[in-house]
């Protein structure tokens, strides 16, 4: 059920068989939610965290005028709200962008496995540090990158993150986002996102249509994005 999660952890560190059993045993339940559901509402007390088993989810903040900013996208294998273990509530929502399945991991079980295996405490500490690194990169994108580079960067990042959990195929990946959701991720209007997509298509031969991103020239896309995957900490080492 949480194979993608284990795959993602193992890309960056060795996870022993006993540790794997402990992580799998920490899952209490699996829930299914349709697209556009709020999984975790901001400021509600939390006593569990959720691993995204399948589908696409996001962290988001709403503005009073109805606009929203999607501050991170979550792919299968991600611990979408591991940070609620120490924060006890979130200051943002977690929402589904497609039909999703989530594994529920109660906080008391997280405490138990991290006390039993201090290495897992460090592995999950690393995971929240990695989340922070992704947030920093998104700050750079939203604050400094052009619309074109920002979109290209997102497509590069998702390629790398999805490839780690074996969800890329034929030079692309499924991305079940509407244009409005893509726009909310990139901090622009859907009309602007639409035009930027058209530009990116002619410049870097990237297609985003019917929920799929197709990349025929990854090097060209990386050049437009000035993409350096070092912030995704892809090396496998003891944490």
């Amino acid at each position: 059920m949480i194979d993608k999660h284990i795959l993602k952890l193992r890309a960056r560190d060795d996870i022993g068989a006993e540790e794997e059993t402990a992580i799998r045993g920490a899952v209490k339940d699996v829930v299914r939610l349709p697209a556009d559901s709020v999984v975790v509402r901001a400021f509600e007390p939390m006593d569990y965290s959720t691993i995204l088993v399948s589908g696409l989810a996001c962290r988001q903040k709403d503005l009073r005028d109805g606009r929203r900013q999607i501050t991170e996208l979550h792919v299968a294998g991600d611990f979408t709200d591991l940070h609620s273990f120490t924060l006890k509530y979130l200051e943002h929502d977690i929402a589904t962008l497609s039909d999703c399945r989530f594994a529920i991991v109660p906080h008391d079980r997280l405490r138990e496995i991290t006390e039993r295996f201090p290495h897992l405490a460090r592995v999950y500490w690393f995971a929240t540090n990695l989340d922070a690194a992704i947030h920093r990169e998104w700050s750079v994108s939203l604050g400094r990158r052009s619309a074109l580079a920002r979109m290209a960067h997102l497509f590069c990042e998702l390629y790398v993150r999805l490839d780690l959990v074996e969800l890329t195929h034929d030079g692309g990946y499924d991305l079940p986002l509407t244009q409005a959701e893509l726009a909310d991720t990139l901090g622009m209007t859907a009309v602007h996102a639409n035009r930027t997509l058209q530009e990116l298509r002619s410049l870097a031969h990237v297609e985003f249509a019917r929920g799929r991103v197709s990349i025929s020239d990854f090097d060209a896309l990386k050049r437009v994005a000035e993409f350096n995957p070092a912030y995704l900490y892809l090396d496998r080492r003891a944490r």
Partner: protein, 84 residues
């Protein structure tokens, strides 16, 4: 909740046509009008950052039946204060 009417915000600029294939879920024509203005301002602000602004463009708002319910030119979306 009743589904909101679908509006398409097609973009015409001096470099070409960008069709709105997916459409926008907006409450009414007035909301579509506001969204068109917001979109144009967003496009123009990117242009300003790149050092060039081209007012030759418009957003054509089409409703679910395919009728054009509004045309907003780029110059309508911003108020220009000429240099003194």
């Amino acid at each position: 909740m009743a589904p909101m009417p679908l509006f398409r915000l097609h973009l015409y600029t001096s470099t070409g046509f960008v069709p709105d294939d997916e459409g926008h879920d907006l409450a009414d024509a007035e909301a579509a009008h506001r969204q068109a203005i917001r979109s144009i301002r967003d496009l123009l602000s990117e242009e300003v950052k790149n050092g060039r602004i081209d007012f030759n463009g418009r957003v054509v708002i089409v409703d679910a039946r395919g009728d054009t319910v509004g045309v907003i030119s780029f110059s309508e979306a911003v108020r220009e204060v000429p240099a003194r």
